[in-house]
Assembly symmetry: C2
Homo-oligomer: 192 residues x 2
């Protein structure tokens, strides 16, 4: 299963056999059953997690007990709680598996070691962060300026591989609209 990560990595940067050996040595494979938690609110997150197989969601629970999904991750995506990682404080979010999944984990210490020993990998993580930041800003912009319908159409257009495998009410939660509204939006847009 770590082969998924090897392919991902070698598609992006040139890696020697010795360097790959380090990734193999430090990586920990974790299997998650559907509904199982990778991270629970209140725990401190100290890892970097690469999804080899499956699908996970990251969500917050508000005062009224409502879940708000902030991120989905499928094969070749990273997940985790950066805020907890950086601050060392307990996470305010939960991450659980939507499907049976296989995750590759690196402790923060091993991950730092890999970055320091392999400059190309360090640069890669920076460019990943750069693109994540731009994506997050675009998402903010979509919330400021788009209607429910626009947000939905945008989502299925830009993330069809995610949209096609998760339950509809989770898409609604991710878009910040009610499941009923999403159902009605879809009925209208299919006809168009």
């Amino acid at each position: 299963m770590i082969q998924v990560f090897k392919k991902y990595l070698t598609d992006k940067i040139a890696i020697t056999d010795e360097e790959w050996a380090m990734f193999e040595q430090y990586g920990m494979i974790k299997k998650l059953r559907k509904h199982q938690y990778l991270l629970q609110e209140g725990d401190v997150w100290r890892l970097n997690a690469f999804v080899c197989k499956g699908c996970l969601r990251k969500y917050h629970v508000d005062d009224k007990g409502v879940e708000h999904i902030v991120y989905f991750s499928i094969e070749n995506y990273w997940t985790g709680d950066r805020e907890s990682l950086l601050s060392g404080m307990p996470a305010k979010s939960n991450i659980d598996a939507i499907e049976d999944s296989v995750i590759l984990l690196y402790s923060i210490e091993h991950f730092e070691l890999l970055k320091s020993k392999i400059p190309a990998f360090k640069d890669f993580t920076i460019s990943l962060l750069d693109r994540s930041f731009v994506a997050s800003q675009n998402r903010v912009h979509s919330f400021i300026s788009q209607t429910a319908e626009e947000k939905y159409l945008d989502f299925i257009k830009t993330s069809p591989q995610i949209a096609n495998r998760i339950p509809q009410h989770m898409i609604a939660s991710y878009l910040g609209i009610s499941p009923e509204t999403l159902s009605r939006v879809r009925k209208l847009t299919i006809k168009k």
Copy 2:
């Protein structure tokens, strides 16, 4: 005016005199009058901009001609259009001065040079990006889960130094609510 940047930098990382000389050599000071653009939609952004003095806003204009503010920057903040910088494509956003301002500019080439010659500075920019990403994610979360009132109270609590110097209708735009709603929200919350 570049002294503002020197203080900012030396508060954060240790810098030799020779290193500081490079920052002085490559930095370009630009003065902006109120309402003057730093970046206009359609231009390619190829800089990093540090605000020495004043206040700027970054905003998008939608199909209906409505402005949506996505970011404010005051003294000791950075600004720019990362999406255009990374992609090389024309910017979809505008940045202009809300007050007469003084900006310190580094071309992308000089900025890369500084990062490669001064590892501590490179690490600093990574940590800055890390924190910007977390802030952006928290803003997404606030749009998914908060009411107009909650967003406003949060904003004046976490960014009082910004909230106190910009016109109210710009706060409304930043929060994704109408100026009238913000006026009403304030009337209610002051009484409480």
